[in-house]
């Protein structure tokens, strides 16, 4: 979810007439830029790409999920120390993680790798992924 939008929407909700709030108005995700191409994702920016695809399984705050099998948490995840590992997993997939190189381009992969490496309690800003490093890993 676009956090700026969320904040804006939350602020707007505060100023709405009481009746509207009591009706339980649900704040919807801004789908602008979503679903624009049937064969690939069209969002740009690491957070936007994360929210449009990764968040489904790794969850909006990177906490992962547990069912009969797990989706690993990305929060506080030492496997993100180097960019190469998430780049490889995103492109090639592994176990329940599907390969996503076909629906994301090099820039989107680099952006989302840099996003998860610097979010959810991770602080791995050094040696960021670049479109070139993603291209080289394909």
């Amino acid at each position: 979810m676009n956090r700026i939008f969320m904040l804006t929407a939350a602020f707007a909700a505060l100023t709405l007439p009481a009746a509207a709030q009591e009706a339980g108005e649900v704040v919807m995700i801004d789908r602008g830029g979503w679903f624009e191409d049937p064969s690939r994702l069209t969002q740009s920016g690491g957070q936007q790409v994360y929210e449009a695809i990764c968040a489904a399984c790794h969850m909006p705050d990177g906490e992962g999920a547990v069912g009969a099998g797990d989706y690993p948490a990305l929060a506080d995840n030492e496997n993100l120390m180097t960019a190469d590992y998430p780049i490889y997993l995103i492109l090639q997939g592994q176990k329940a993680m599907p390969p996503l190189g076909g629906v994301l381009d090099d820039t989107q992969v680099a952006d989302v790798v840099n996003y998860i490496r610097t979010s959810f309690g991770n602080d791995y800003a050094e040696d960021p992924a670049t479109p070139d490093s993603v291209a080289a890993a394909r």
């Binding site: 049937p38 994702l41 449009a52 969850m59 069912g67 009969a68 629906v103």
Partner: protein
């Protein structure tokens, strides 16, 4: 002549037919005699030989697991089944009013559909060549009804064509065929196909094209009685003083081509979609429930397998109650493992390096379905669409109309989205309420009644389904890996839709289980 009147064997009769009349006639005869079939279902198992009380542990109570359990018990085995969920059936699953579904992440959807309405999140059609599924339905008394795949009055829609207005399938289909037939007729007429078509055949081909393409006597596809008899009339045929019809305008070939609507014309021609196909009355899980009635007493539910170990001549699965609790173990002489590889790869197991590599390299497709309930059947009442499927380039991909309860006044449920790939990934990433909104937005472009008539909806993004983590297994290298995945590894055989050339189909799951059971039985009785 009657078969075997002179003691001719079926095989020798077939060679005679083949020699005299060619392969086509032989195939026809084979089909008549029931030998040439499109599924490799070889009929019901008849396992001879003593099972000697051999214990078999079946992991997973989907259709593959329950097929294995049913057949093994019938052959004298001691069978135990462990299932993660609280009920049987796996992806053979139906959501109906009163059901509650919690996906990964914790979002819960309470289904409020009216009595009789449902969504099949997984399999929803049974092809007529899926003999194993059909046979079990017959054996277990699951009532089937026709599933309408092709409806000439449903729509083809492309947001970039015809100003975004949906077009009736019959119009696009007839126009495409007509123009193609006319073009080919011109080529034949110019004798440009002499190398491929003999003079005698050329005349037959012209006759065929005229009929196939609804061409006029000049071999042209034009607005007129011939084309309107297939694509529909501007003023329909009627009775009395206003009975005379008026032909509808055909679309030019270029318009049809550039509309891209031809892309979905052949959906119903696929082998597994060809009429007649079926659905169980009341939802796909009627099949799951029928199997559960047979083998439910063998199943331990809410059992999450955490470890699989082979020691000597036995195999042991460790499991914990899905809701938490103490570890327990189940030991057997053999195991048939139907746990999806997306889950199995995360279980602590001791399969061979080769098998582990195959398990870890199989990923699961993204898929998304959404069912919407509406106050009335506006597609029938306003648009005369009775069952069948409309296709669109929008992210919802299609709208499928119910194949049952036509003309009822009560609320009806549409399969309002069925997406794969990039679109499905994004639907999976949206919270349930946002998905419904998106599906309403898109569907309204085809049926403007959506917003006014909407009651409720439920959706399933398969990557968020806790017990499978995806829709169906996709091989990294099927050519190289498939046969190795079927090999008994330690004391375990794999089964499920992923161990078949009918991935995602219930038939594939059942056939893989039957094959595993036969091979397990051969191992036991030939030992």
């Amino acid at each position: 002549m009657t078969f075997n009147s002179q003691g001719v064997s079926r095989r020798s009769l077939l060679s005679m037919i083949g020699a005299v009349a060619g392969a086509g006639a032989m195939y026809g005869a084979m089909s008549t005699m029931g030998l040439a079939q499109t599924s490799n279902f070889a009929g019901r198992l008849d396992l001879q030989g003593d099972a000697q009380g051999t214990r078999v542990l079946v992991l997973g109570a989907g259709l593959a697991g329950m097929t294995a359990a049913y057949e093994l018990r019938a052959a004298g085995y001691q069978v135990t089944v462990l299932e993660y969920r609280e009920k049987a059936g796996g992806r053979c699953w139906t959501l109906r009013g009163g059901d509650s579904y919690t996906e990964l992440g914790g979002d819960t959807q309470d289904v409020t559909f009216a009595e009789g309405n449902y969504l099949n999140p997984g399999p929803w059609r049974i092809p007529s060549d899926h003999y194993a599924v059909l046979d079990y339905c017959k054996r277990f008394g699951v009532k089937l009804e026709p599933f309408i795949q092709v409806n000439y009055n449903a729509y083809l829609h492309n947001s970039d064509a015809f100003d975004g207005q949906p077009q009736r399938f019959k119009e696009i289909s007839t126009d495409f065929r007509g123009h193609v037939a006319e073009l080919l007729a011109k080529v034949v007429d110019q004798q440009a196909l002499d190398a491929d078509v003999t003079e005698g055949d050329a005349q037959l081909l012209m006759d065929a094209l005229k009929r196939y393409g609804a061409l006029n006597d000049d071999m042209a596809y034009v607005t007129g009685e011939e084309s309107s008899a297939y694509r529909g009339w501007a003023v329909p045929e009627g009775g009395g003083t206003t009975g005379k019809p008026e032909p509808s305008e055909v679309h030019p070939l270029s318009v049809i081509l550039q509309s891209n609507l031809w892309r979905n014309l052949t959906a119903g021609d696929n082998l597994h979609m060809q009429s007649t196909i079926f659905q169980p009355v009341g939802g796909m899980d009627q099949i799951a429930q029928a199997f559960e009635r047979e083998v439910g007493d063998l199943i331990t539910f809410d059992a999450k397998v955490t470890r699989i170990r082979h020691e000597g001549d036995s195999v042991t699965a460790t499991w914990v109650p899905s809701g938490g609790g103490d570890e327990q173990t189940e030991t057997a002489d053999y195991c048939i493992c139907t746990i999806p590889f997306s889950i199995l790869g995360q279980i602590d197991h001791d399969f061979s390096g080769r098998m582990s590599g195959i398990i870890d390299s199989m990923y699961y497709a993204s898929s998304f379905k959404c069912g919407l309930e509406f106050k009335r059947r506006f597609w029938e009442q306003d648009e005369h669409i009775y069952g069948g499927i409309s296709y669109t380039n929008l992210p919802i991909s299609l709208i499928s109309y119910p194949s049952t309860d036509y003309f009822s006044d009560g609320p009806g449920v549409l399969l309002a989205a069925y997406s794969w790939g990039a679109g499905s990934y994004q639907f999976n990433a949206l919270p349930p309420a946002d998905r419904i909104e998106a599906v309403l937005d898109y569907g309204s472009q085809i049926h403007p009644q959506y917003r006014d008539e909407f009651l409720s909806g439920v959706s399933v993004g398969w990557h968020k389904v806790p017990w499978v983590l995806g829709c169906y297994g996709i091989w990294a290298d099927r050519e190289a890996d498939y046969m190795d995945a079927t090999v008994m590894d330690g004391r375990t055989l794999m089964a499920g839709e992923h161990i078949s050339y009918l991935p995602a189909w219930m038939e594939g799951a059942i056939l893989s289980a039957l094959d595993a059971v036969e091979r397990l039985h051969a191992t036991v009785t030939e030992a």
